[in-house]
C-alpha cells in the first residue's frame, strides 16, 4: 500500500513547503502536519529531508512523530473511520458500535482494509456529544448511530 516518495517529490516538498517556514520560530509541528496532509503520513524519508533542512536531528523528529497520534508512518486508507469513544458515546454504546464496524470491515482498530479503502482509527471525542453515539468518516459526522445503520454508512464511502 505504501508508495515510495520519489527524490524529485521530496525535492519539491523541500522547495515549495519547507521554505515557507524558514522564518518561523518553531516550524516542526507545522511541517509535519503539511507532510501528513500531503502524503497521508510522515515517512522516514520525509523526516530526513525536514531534519536536513532545519538542522534538527532525525532522532528528535522521530520522537515527535511517534508522540502524536495524528502522525503516522504509513498512509491511511482512502477513508478514515472513527467510532467515537468519548464518554458520552461510550455510555451510549460506542464500544459495541466499534465491534460491529470492526467485524464489518474485517479489521482491528488502527488497521487498514486490504483494498486500502478504510482505516479504522482510534477516536476520542469529536465534540459532537449531543448526537452520541457518533461515527466520524473523514470529516463527516454521523450521529445517533445504531448498529443497523453501519452497513449503509460504510457503503456510502465504499467507492
Amino acid at each position: 500500500m505504501k508508495e515510495h516518495i520519489s527524490k524529485q517529490d521530496l525535492h519539491l516538498f523541500e522547495e515549495n513547503i519547507l521554505t515557507k517556514y524558514r522564518k518561523n520560530d518553531s516550524p516542526l509541528m507545522q511541517v509535519l502536519q503539511e507532510s501528513q496532509n500531503l502524503y497521508g503520513c510522515v515517512p522516514i524519508e520525509v523526516q530526513e529531508v525536514i531534519g536536513k533542512h532545519f538542522r534538527i536531528s532525525p532522532a528528535k523528529i522521530n520522537g515527535v512523530v511517534s508522540f502524536y497520534s495524528m502522525f503516522t508512518l504509513e498512509p491511511n486508507g482512502k477513508n478514515t473511520v472513527g467510532v467515537c469513544l468519548g464518554t458520552a458515546c461510550y455510555v451510549k454504546g460506542g464500544e459495541r458500535l466499534l465491534d460491529r464496524v470492526s467485524e464489518r470491515l474485517e479489521i482491528n482498530l488502527g488497521e487498514t482494509t486490504k483494498d486500502g479503502m478504510f482505516t479504522l482509527a482510534p477516536t476520542r471525542c469529536v465534540g459532537a456529544c449531543s448526537s452520541a453515539p457518533v461515527i466520524m468518516v473523514n470529516d463527516n459526522i454521523h450521529g445517533k448511530v445504531t448498529s443497523d445503520d453501519i452497513p449503509n454508512i460504510i457503503e456510502q464511502y465504499n467507492k
Partner: protein
C-alpha cells in the same frame, strides 16, 4: 480604520433580527459566553460588531493596561479550563514580569472526552475569543498570540482563521490595533492528537515543536513560558468572557454566580438525559436544577444514578448531591471538580467500575510518559480494575487500587497524573458496594462488565417486537413476531447488542 459605530448601525439596518433577545434553552439559563451562538453568522465580522463586538476592545485600549487588569481582578473571573485560577491575577503576574517579548496563548485544545463547549464557541463566535485575546495581549504587553486548536476540530480552525483575516482587514488586529500604537499578530497552531497538550507546559512544548510533555512548575508560564518568555495561557471560554466583562463592567459580571465563583459556566450536558446539548447557567445553580429541570432527567424508564463532571480528571456526583451548588470550590469539596464543563449523566444501566476503567484506559493512553507515577501507576491501576471487572478481583485488589490511586495522585508531575485517579477514588467513595459486588458476588448489576456475564436471557416481558433478533450480529435470537423470543446460548457471543436494544427491559443477564 474601521468605524465600529458605523458598521454596527449599517449591519443592524440590514439584519434587524440581530436585536432579538438571546435565545435560551431554558428559563434558568443565562447566556454570556453563548450570547452570539446561533444568533450571528460566525463568518461575518460585521454581525459580531453589530452585537457590540470589539467595543470592549475600544474601551480597553483607552485605559492603561494596569486598569484593565484591575477590572479583571475586580470581576473575579476564574479560569474556565478547569483549575479556576483567577484570570486577573494571572495577567498581573505576566504584566509585572519585565521582558522585551511576551506571548498570549489561547488554549483551544479541548480534549476532555464528553465536552464540546469550546468547539461551539470557536465555531459560532470566533471573534469573541479573538477580542478577548487582544485585550489580554494589550494588558500584559504581548505582541504575538497563538491559538492552539486541537486537530479534531477542522471547522473551528477554519472559522478562526477567517475571523483573524477579517479582523486584520478592518484594522482590529495586526499593526496599530484600532489606530492605537498597540500591535498584535495572532497565529493558529494545530495540535496533533495528544490530550496532555491541554496542560499548559505541555502545550508550550508542543508549539515549540517538541513532544508534548509537561514540566515542573514553578516557574509558571507567566514568568517563563513560550520560548522562555512570560506567557499567559487562557482557555477559550475564559477569553470569551473578557470582552463582556470590560464592556458591561465587573459589577454586572458579579451579579451572576456566587461570591467566590462569579459569572456563568457553560456545560456540555450529555449522556442519559433527555436534553443533550450546551447550556450556560449562573454558578451556584444546583446539580438537580441542571439535570432535572434543564436536562429533563433520564426519562421514566430509567433511574438517575450519577453524573460525571470534570472528565478523566473529575469524579462522580450522585443522587445525594442534587441539592449541592455547582461552583469551583464546592465541586472540589465533594471530591469531583468543575473541569472544563463536561457533564455526563448515567443511569442504572451504567456500571461505575466500568466507567472508572474507561477513564483509566484514557489516562493510560494519554499519559506522556515522562514521570513514573503516572506512566506506570495508571497502567497498574487499570490492570487492577480489569481484574475486578472480569471477575478475578478480590477485596485486597480494591484496597491496593485505593492505595495506588493516592500515591499516583500525590506524586505525579502534572495535572494529568495528579487527577487521573480521581474517577477511581470518587467511585470508590460513592459506589463501594458496587465494587464489593464485583469481587464478592461476581456480579455486575448493570450488566456492563462482560466478564461477569454468563448468559443473556429473555423474560416474559418480551413483546416480540423482533428488534433484538434483527440487531444480533450472530443471529442467535429466534421467535415469531409478537411472541416471546429466545436466545441460543451456544451461539451467543455476549456482545450486549440485544440487551441495549430492548425497549421493554425484557432481557436480563445471569
Amino acid at each position: 480604520m474601521a468605524n465600529l459605530k458605523q458598521i454596527k448601525k449599517e449591519t443592524l439596518e440590514q439584519n434587524p433580527s440581530l436585536l432579538n433577545p438571546v435565545y435560551k434553552m431554558h428559563e434558568k439559563e443565562v447566556r454570556v459566553v453563548l450570547r452570539n451562538c446561533d444568533v450571528i453568522d460566525p463568518e461575518d465580522i460585521n454581525q459580531y460588531i453589530a452585537r457590540d463586538g470589539y467595543f470592549a476592545l475600544e474601551k480597553a485600549l483607552a485605559l492603561p493596561p494596569v486598569e484593565v487588569i484591575e477590572l479583571m481582578k475586580e470581576s473575579g473571573l476564574r479560569g474556565r479550563g478547569g483549575g479556576g485560577f483567577p484570570t486577573g491575577k494571572k495577567w498581573e503576574f505576566a504584566y509585572n514580569n519585565v521582558s522585551d517579548t511576551k506571548y498570549i496563548i489561547c488554549n483551544a485544545d479541548e480534549g476532555d472526552p464528553g465536552a464540546f463547549m469550546d468547539r461551539s464557541v470557536l465555531e459560532q463566535d470566533p471573534h469573541s475569543v479573538i477580542e478577548g485575546m487582544i485585550i489580554a495581549g494589550y494588558s500584559i504587553g504581548a505582541h504575538t498570540g497563538y491559538v492552539y486548536v486541537r486537530a479534531e476540530y477542522p471547522l473551528a480552525a477554519k472559522r478562526l482563521q477567517l475571523a483573524i483575516d477579517n479582523a486584520v482587514e478592518l484594522g482590529i488586529l495586526g499593526e496599530c490595533v484600532l489606530d492605537t500604537d498597540y500591535s498584535l499578530n495572532i497565529e493558529i497552531r494545530l495540535g496533533a492528537g495528544a490530550f496532555v497538550c491541554g496542560e499548559e507546559t505541555a502545550l508550550i512544548a508542543s508549539i515549540e515543536g517538541e513532544r508534548g510533555m509537561s514540566r515542573i512548575k514553578p516557574p509558571y508560564p507567566a514568568a517563563k513560558g513560550l520560548f522562555g518568555k512570560p506567557t499567559i495561557i487562557n482557555n477559550v471560554e475564559t477569553l470569551s468572557n473578557v470582552p463582556q466583562i470590560i464592556f458591561n463592567g465587573p459589577k454586572w459580571f458579579k451579579s451572576f454566580g456566587t461570591k467566590d465563583s462569579p459569572g456563568t459556566k457553560v456545560f456540555a450536558l450529555a449522556g442519559k438525559v433527555k436534553y443533550n446539548g450546551l447550556i450556560e447557567v449562573p454558578m451556584g445553580i444546583t446539580l438537580g436544577e441542571i439535570i432535572h429541570d434543564i436536562g429533563k432527567g433520564v426519562g421514566k424508564k430509567r433511574q438517575f444514578k450519577a453524573v460525571l463532571t470534570g472528565g478523566p480528571s473529575g469524579g462522580c456526583l450522585t443522587e445525594k448531591h442534587l441539592n449541592e451548588s455547582v461552583d469551583f470550590d464546592n465541586l472540589v469539596r465533594l471530591g469531583s471538580m468543575m473541569g472544563s464543563g463536561g457533564m455526563i449523566v448515567l443511569d442504572d444501566h451504567d456500571c461505575m467500575v466500568d466507567i472508572a476503567k474507561f477513564y483509566l484506559d484514557f489516562s493510560v493512553d494519554e499519559s506522556c510518559g515522562k514521570c513514573t507515577p503516572c506512566r506506570e501507576g495508571t497502567i497498574q491501576m487499570f490492570k487492577l480494575l480489569e481484574k475486578i471487572s472480569d471477575g478475578t478481583g478480590t477485596v485486597e485488589d480494591i484496597e491496593k487500587l485505593r492505595d495506588l490511586s493516592v500515591s499516583v495522585k500525590e506524586s505525579s508531575l502534572c495535572g494529568l497524573g495528579m487527577t487521573a485517579p480521581n474517577p477511581v477514588l470518587s467511585t470508590l467513595e460513592h459506589f463501594y458496594d458496587e465494587y464489593l459486588e464485583h469481587v464478592n458476588d461476581k456480579r455486575c448489576k448493570s450488566s456492563s462488565c462482560k466478564g461477569l456475564i454468563n448468559e443473556y436471557f429473555i423474560t416474559d416481558k418480551c413483546t416480540g417486537c423482533t428488534i433484538c433478533a434483527r440487531r444480533c450480529p450472530v443471529q442467535c435470537i429466534s421467535g415469531s413476531l409478537k411472541e416471546q423470543h429466545t436466545i441460543d446460548p451456544s451461539i451467543c457471543i455476549r456482545c450486549g447488542e440485544c440487551f441495549a436494544s430492548c425497549n421493554f427491559d425484557a432481557i436480563i443477564t445471569k
